[in-house]
Amino acid sequence: MTKADRTGAEAVSTGRDIDPITLSTVWHGFQSIGREMRHVIDRTAQNYLIAQLHDMAAGIWDVHGNTIAVPEGPTSMFLSQGFTVKYIMERMGHTLKPGDVILCNDPYKGYCNHLPDWGFFRPVFYQGELLFIVLTRGHQLDTGGAFPGGYFPNGYDIHAEGIMIPPIKVVDQGVERTDVLELIWNNVRWPEGVKIDNYALMAALQVADDRIVALLDKYGRDEVLECVDEMMDRMERSVRTQLAAVPDGTWSGESSTDDDGTVLDEQVTVRCDATIKGDELILDFSRSDGLRKGFVNCTYSSTYSRAVAGSFLYFDSALAEFHNEGSMRAVTVIAPEGSVVNATYPATVGGSPVNVGTQVLEATVNALSKAMPDKAIAGWGRRRGHYIAGIDPRTGERYVQTTTDADGGAGAVFGFDGYEGALGMSGLGSINRGSVEEIEIRFPWRTVKWHFVPDMSGAGKWRGGCGMLWEVENLGGDVGAATGSSDGDLTQPPGALGGEDGPLSRMYIRKGDDVTPARTHRMVQIRTGEILGKVSGGGGGVGDPFERDPERVLKDVIDEMTTIPYAKDVYGVVILDGDPPTLDAEATRALRATRATA
């Protein structure tokens, strides 16, 4: 079937006779169930990543693996989980019973992301019939393997990265399979903590089950299922209509990560060729680098999630929270098997949610910003995470500490500067930062400094959100840190439409004035009394910096987000030093004219 046929046929007539009010109500019902699931996890989990930084997701699928509701959360965790649902249905569908819960974290047998992201699935039955599958997923405190937290390089193969759990029942008809769970918990560090988070994730499934059944009670099975199908069809129709309005063509984008953590300082590049043809979007990653020895390989499902999430940003913002399977039907993601964007067993994948995963999203956005320049989007400040493992001298207990605090801000978009403080393009702002006071209470670390750094954002007509300086002091015990959830020492988030890329980042360990550089994708040692410092680059810019409103540049100079020399060199805006600094409009016009004629 040609693409044009599909616009005319399938997409337009849905042929269902559904009362629009019921449709809308059922739809909002599913949306709100998703939010409630997230709320329960947020309230009860104990792991910093899940409860504070919100590295977790929830969602609802039908039994065919069609995505019904995808509430906020890191993109890699759920947009592709229809694959897992299909996998579970194929292998275990006939054994599923009400009250079952299935656990899975295996990237190769279960389409997961990387091993720490454990997903709990629950079949939702209504009057004896299996109708839906609900999922909650969160980054566990630990998943076993050679070093805590999952983001460490140089595993021999994926088995070195932790315990691999194919889809397995951990609750059988409401009865916990304690022996199975004990086996799993026995293979992770901090089993007490992991156990709490597992219960939190399972509690949210229970809440979802109850709420979906109530919805079915109210509107009836047939009506609810019809509404679900109708919303997917409407979403598909809308997305296809929007795609059809974009002229056909192919646009390319690319983005690189510093290295793969094993072969050092050799950048790994993801390339996206985005083709819009009629009402279809094809995101082809075939020209990306091959499978790597190091831990940056993405499974297809991770690549798929990122690419699809990137495409969502270009569709009608008013529909942003309604995306579902229908939106995905118009998008095809191609990634050749055995490449860095479609890893094959037993390749390591631990670092992929940050490294290569982010690049998939950036490359997608880099390409689509060329296709739709009035919706241009720049890359966000690169992640500057770490996992520190040590013993807290105050309690004698082992701890693992991770953070998002040092990450730079969001990339600019057409029309607006990047959102200051928002972090992590792959979470699109659904992930949060910590609290200085909370961290000091919880861990033997003290924050020394935490603030924006002037000029540390990609310049543009709209500039990126700023990068930051973050320093923390180790108060107790020599520790090891894995910097696998960091990136951006050598590579930059791409700007768009003539905007600059986000600046490079750096990291160091400081003892007094003695500063030793530290690098991404490594293992580093930090001794008691030493300071870990990070200077992050912010987001990329959108549009020519010389087109930036000089008043905006002046405001940034007054706020010490931009320096006077930088304003002149990069923005062509002449600011006179003074209290307050003032704009020399004439000199600015002259300076900007020079380049225009050059």
Partner: protein, 708 residues
């Protein structure tokens, strides 16, 4: 003697007067945004005239108490027209309020990146630093550098700030450095509104504490000026009684208490509604109330179980994090002025865009052309064209139909069917929000009675209840001055909090005892200043508790009396139970951590009765005003319209019916019967409903320290 409540909203200033016999009368004047004290006095002047006093002074001389709610702080924040505010903060941390823990736009989807970045209330160049550092243990790592602090204060003075926030790390654990710095700031910046974060919220988590203090300082000068003007004008006019302010936590306080803590007036008016709803709920003997207040641009939901008004410390007001304890009211963007539109998917949507008060709905005839909820209500016959606000405003039915027809066409529906769809859509949206609130709290909404207020509440309440299968709806005759009514039912009191972060196994009961003694002494001193005797003060203690490692706390009761291990054990037992109730599971095997100890000190509210109306039999025909065609469930029905003023206690009638009150219109749909009670509340009961959950509620859920 009279007692008065005044709620100054965005459009109207609502005034309720209660005479010595408990009879209420409502007065309304327009809010005067430039100087809201004018609208305040206008309302009082109307009231004075209503009671036959040509002279305001003579009337005010007989007023013993005015309780006042104001939207000024909220609107100052929303309209971003607050004070030029500066901040002095711990060196190295000037950007905490702009980094704001990475929160992107708070209310839009993550897939919408085309949003303007957040603009902090204190711009970066007015955020200055001073060397100092406290630790979570309360120790001082670095003494305050007073020279730097003074220089920063001088600099802010040069920059012409009108308000200053002092926000230092860990100041909840030891406020010494903040105290020293604010003393310096007050010395340098005379006539400037100075606030220290520990004065507003002595609780851990710096972003939340600083943000709250910044909101307080930003709104402070405008509100202070207003309150001082108001107090002076009232005194000039001869008022000698007490003026108390309605706070966001559902308590009332003196003006002097509020002026340095203006953030406590955020949400001041709406916070009163649940107290009023509870009082109204007494009329049908239930303490399980869902309060719905639907006005022009938004609606507020509050779920009260067992008479306990819920509070939260997790509110966002617009894009600002406000972490003080507030009555937990969920606000949604749907009201009478909400505009209906068709989205890309061909679905009818209502709101969040609103026609506001100006131009307002199309039927106001002030130039609005887009269809609003009020236009739909008029088309359906729920609202009378000739008796809106007792006939003060004539509604233009043709304009309403024309507006509704703009969305009727693309939907392929008639004007009436479209109006029905708008009506149902907005009701479904509210019903959905209500379900979400209920689920979060672990409640079944069918166990609650819906009490409705606001101008549009009485029109929509029964339809919402119907969607939710709620058995009972109560609509008070003062629905249009709902929050003002709630202020009659308020407690006077304060909330106190102290952080003491400890594992349960390491907790020192004697230290908790000290904390409570300290808070109680402070409370008693505070009340003494109000002339309240210590013996009239009641304390309620709670603690924020979590399983070790969790990040969110559950607030549980702490027994009164001496704190010993048994008292702590009782609180812990309550915690496990509450956790199970809220989240479906508990973890008795896991260590427990306690963080913040809280005290609520109140004095019993003044006795408060309302005078009943004349009794009559079930027959309501004497009050029949007219009949008209009203649309229910998409069908036109010949519907009786009653005159609210003529109804008698005990009158009964079945839907479909409309009651016209001067300030509102009560809609009784076909599936509900209506009974008029002895204070003219309209009590609606769904056909065939088993009224459950009324009365005592779940006694098990009230376990307070009895387990030890």
């Amino acid at each position: 003697m009279y007692r008065i409540t005044i709620d100054v909203g965005g459009t109207f200033t609502d005034c309720l007067v209660m005479d010595g016999e408990g009879t209420l009368r409502q007065f309304k004047s327009y809010t005067t945004p430039r100087d809201p004290s004018q609208g305040f006095l206008d309302a009082l002047t109307k009231a004075a005239a209503g009671y036959g006093h040509p002279d305001l002074g003579a009337f005010l001389g007989q007023v013993e108490l005015i309780i006042h709610g104001t939207t000024l702080a909220t609107n100052t924040l929303i309209n971003r027209n607050g004070a030029r505010t500066g901040m002095i903060t711990t060196k190295g941390f000037r950007d905490i309020i702009e980094i704001r823990r990475g929160f992107k736009n708070v209310r839009t989807s993550m897939y919408d990146v085309f949003v303007p970045p957040y603009e902090p209330l204190v711009p970066r160049h007015l955020r200055l630093e001073a060397s100092e550092r406290a630790l979570y243990s309360g120790e001082t790592l670095t003494e305050l550098d007073e020279t730097e602090t003074r220089a920063a204060a001088e600099r802010l003075k040069e920059k012409g700030v009108e308000a200053v926030v002092i926000g230092f790390l860990h100041s909840y654990a030891d406020p010494t450095n903040e105290q020293k710095a604010s003393a310096i700031a007050r010395e340098v910046l005379t006539d400037t509104y100075v606030t220290a974060s520990h004065e507003i919220l002595p609780v851990w988590r710096e972003y939340e504490r600083f943000s709250t203090a910044v909101v307080s300082a930003y709104t402070g000068p405008i509100v202070e000026k207003y309150l001082r003007t108001l107090v002076a004008r009232l005194a000039d006019e001869g008022f000698r009684g007490n003026l108390l302010m309605m706070l966001s936590d559902g308590l009332v306080e003196t003006v002097d208490y509020c002026i340095p803590r203006v953030v406590y007036l955020i949400g001041s008016g709406p916070a009163a509604a649940p107290s009023g709803a509870l009082h109204i709920g007494d009329a049908i003997g239930t303490r399980n109330i869902l309060s719905v207040d639907m006005g022009g641009t938004s609606f507020d939901i509050c779920m009260v179980q067992d008479g306990e008004i819920p509070t939260t410390t997790e509110a966002w007001v617009q894009d600002e994090r406000v972490a003080i304890k507030m009555v937990d009211i969920q606000s949604g963007g749907a009201g009478g002025g909400s505009i209906a539109w068709i989205d890309q998917l061909g679905l009818l949507r209502v709101g969040p865009k609103s026609a506001g008060g100006d131009p307002g709905p199309a039927c106001y005839g002030k130039g609005g052309t887009e269809p609003t909820v009020t236009d739909a209500d008029l088309v359906l016959g729920y609202v009378p064209a000739d008796y809106f606000l007792g006939g003060e405003i004539a509604l233009d039915a043709d304009a309403a139909r024309a507006a509704v027809s703009t969305v009727a066409e693309p939907l392929g529906l008639s004007v009436e069917a479209t109006a029905s769809a708008i009506f149902t859509t907005v009701n479904s949206y509210m019903a959905d929000q209500i379900t979400e609130v209920a689920t979060r709290r672990g409640h079944d909404v069918r166990d609650f009675a819906l009490v409705a207020g606001g101008g549009a509440g009485p029109v929509h309440a029964a339809a919402i209840a119907d969607l939710l299968h709620m058995p009972q709806v109560v609509i008070p005759p003062i629905a249009a001055t709902y929050s003002a009514f709630g202020m009659f039912a308020m407690d006077v009191g304060r909330n106190y909090a102290r952080s003491y972060i400890t594992r349960a196994k390491d907790l020192d009961p004697a230290h908790v005892q000290e904390l409570y003694q300290g808070m109680e002494a402070e409370a008693i001193a505070g009340f003494a200043a109000l002339g309240v005797d210590a013996s009239d003060v009641t304390f309620a203690r709670t603690a924020d508790v979590r399983y070790l490692g969790q990040f969110h706390e559950v607030e549980v009761s702490v027994p009164s009396g001496a704190i010993d291990q048994a008292a702590i054990d009782a609180a812990l037992a309550d915690f496990h139970k509450r956790h199970r109730q809220l989240y479906t599971f508990d973890m008795p095997w896991q260590q427990v951590e306690l963080l913040t100890f809280r005290l609520r000190a109140t004095t019993p509210k003044a006795p408060f009765t309302m005078r009943g109306i004349e009794a009559g039999g079930p027959d309501s025909s004497a009050a029949l005003k007219r009949r008209r065609t009203v649309w229910f469930d998409g069908e036109p029905m010949d519907t009786p319209v009653y005159d609210g003023a003529l109804l008698r206690a005990g009158n009964e009638f079945h839907g479909p019916a409309i009651v016209e009150e001067t300030t509102t219109s009560v809609v009784i749909p076909p599936r509900y019967a209506c009974r008029v009670d002895d204070v003219r509340n309209y009590v609606l009961t769904r056909d065939g409903a088993q009224v459950r959950g009324t009365g005592t509620g779940d006694a098990g859920a009230q376990l307070v320290g009895g387990a030890a």
